[in-house]
Symmetry: C2
Subunit: 233 residues, 2 copies
DNA sequence: CGCGTCCTTGAACCGCGTCAAGCCAGGTGG
DNA sequence: CCACCTGGCTTGACGCGGTTCAAGGACGCG
């Protein structure tokens, strides 16, 4: 179930948050953690399950969602290598969200007690996680404003760019591999509107579609579309 | 500019977050902090100003907002006694939001360096603030789902209840004193729709309006209206 | 009294969600 | 190999909800 200690240490050190710990705590965490692999579409966290601890993503991309009235899903965000899942539930008793793998994922789980002890003895760890929260909160509130003020066309452009930053951090090829449903749930619109707008974008040569996979061929134009929203916080 | 030490200590201790510090740090903070008073409508934090530190609300209610495209304001949340302003900017270089007093406010400011040192020497303080972030994040994401899934009528009910929890924590009289504009900006709709829906609520005896001040006379009915959204995270 | 600000109400327009049908690719079984 | 089914994607038509525009009322202030 758990890898050799040497390898585990290496893994913990690769997590930007966890490496804020002191050396002896990194070793400790490497022994106490629990690493698992997930296949695409596999469930990582079930909605409303009791909070058991935190999940640190070593590798892969996952969607975080929450199910609303009449089973309408809202994809809250995507998260990937270096990200955390379950921190929202921290301080509450149930995970307010569910998480599902979008790609192959390697994820490390650390239980409540262990992580709590680590916090108390590693101020830098707590501080690092606090900074993570701070960033998440800014993102979340930016999203509130976007949802409230953008029209559908702008939301689609915004969503495409967002997904692209997750899938192609270093602008590899600007291809994104995500289902229309997930994309629509992320943007907060229905799949039909999404389809319509993607078709328009295609006509305008902003994107290309090959067997349902979207390629952003004119990222700049998409960016310009949402520019007015970007720098006004 | 600063009160007697004794009184200051007392103030710091009254802040639920700050009292997580060790005794000597509480004294230290009492000396280094900077307390100010604000009148209604007075600005506390300007949007896009550089981040100088954190504001802890000793007393009063403030609105946190951010200005979007063509000066459309989004009121992100209200905050009151015991709350924090500016924590969103922490880790960034500019405050992503602005803050304005709604009532008379007493607010204590602690600069970046001081609070950072406090974090490093008081794990419990960092942890307490992290929990505060965690809660804020849950609220923020609940709001995302509400904005995406509620219709206007439900949004108004939700907004009224929210404002009431801020103004009347202990169900004093269920009267809320906030302008239509602020309420509309908080809910994410325009003032006209707000007016219409308030008029409807009035007809249905859910609220009463006396010289523009709203009283929630049937809180239960309002709660039932948004019940389906409440327990589904 | 006149003016400005905030709130309310009405009417018209239109963006977006919903419903319905068609398309396409992949999988299964005869 | 073809027939059929299924699930995801696309496109069109329609109607409702909500935004916008415009005008009028209530109230405070000089």
């Amino acid at each position: 179930m758990r890898n050799s200690v040497a390898c585990s240490v290496c893994e913990v050190k690769e997590c930007p948050i966890l490496q804020s710990c002191s050396d002896n705590w990194i070793e400790k965490l490497s022994e106490l953690k629990h690493t698992s692999h997930y296949k695409p579409d596999q469930n990582i966290v079930h909605e409303n399950n009791p909070v058991m601890g935190l999940y640190f993503i070593y590798d892969g991309i996952a969607k975080i969602f929450s199910t609303g009235i009449n089973n309408k899903t809202q994809v809250v965000r995507l998260t990937k290598t270096g990200g955390i899942i379950g921190h929202r539930g921290f301080g509450g008793d149930k995970y307010p969200i569910g998480a599902t793998a979008l790609t192959e994922c390697t994820i490390c789980f650390i239980d409540n007690k262990t992580i709590f002890d680590a916090f108390m003895e590693n101020p830098k760890l707590t501080f690092a996680l606090m900074m993570y929260y701070s960033k998440e909160l800014r993102n979340s509130e930016a999203k509130i404003k976007n949802l409230a003020q953008m029209n559908v066309r702008e939301k689609v452009a915004d969503g495409l760019i967002y997904v692209n930053t997750i899938f192609n951090e270093h602008n590899e090829n600007n291809q994104i591999n995500i289902s229309r449903k997930d994309l629509a749930d992320l943007i907060g619109i229905n799949t039909e509107q999404l389809s319509r707008n993607l078709s328009e974008f295609k006509k305008e040569n902003l994107i290309e579609i090959n067997q349902n996979q979207i390629e952003l061929t004119n990222l700049e134009a998409l960016n310009n579309m949402i520019l007015p929203f970007q720098y006004i916080y």
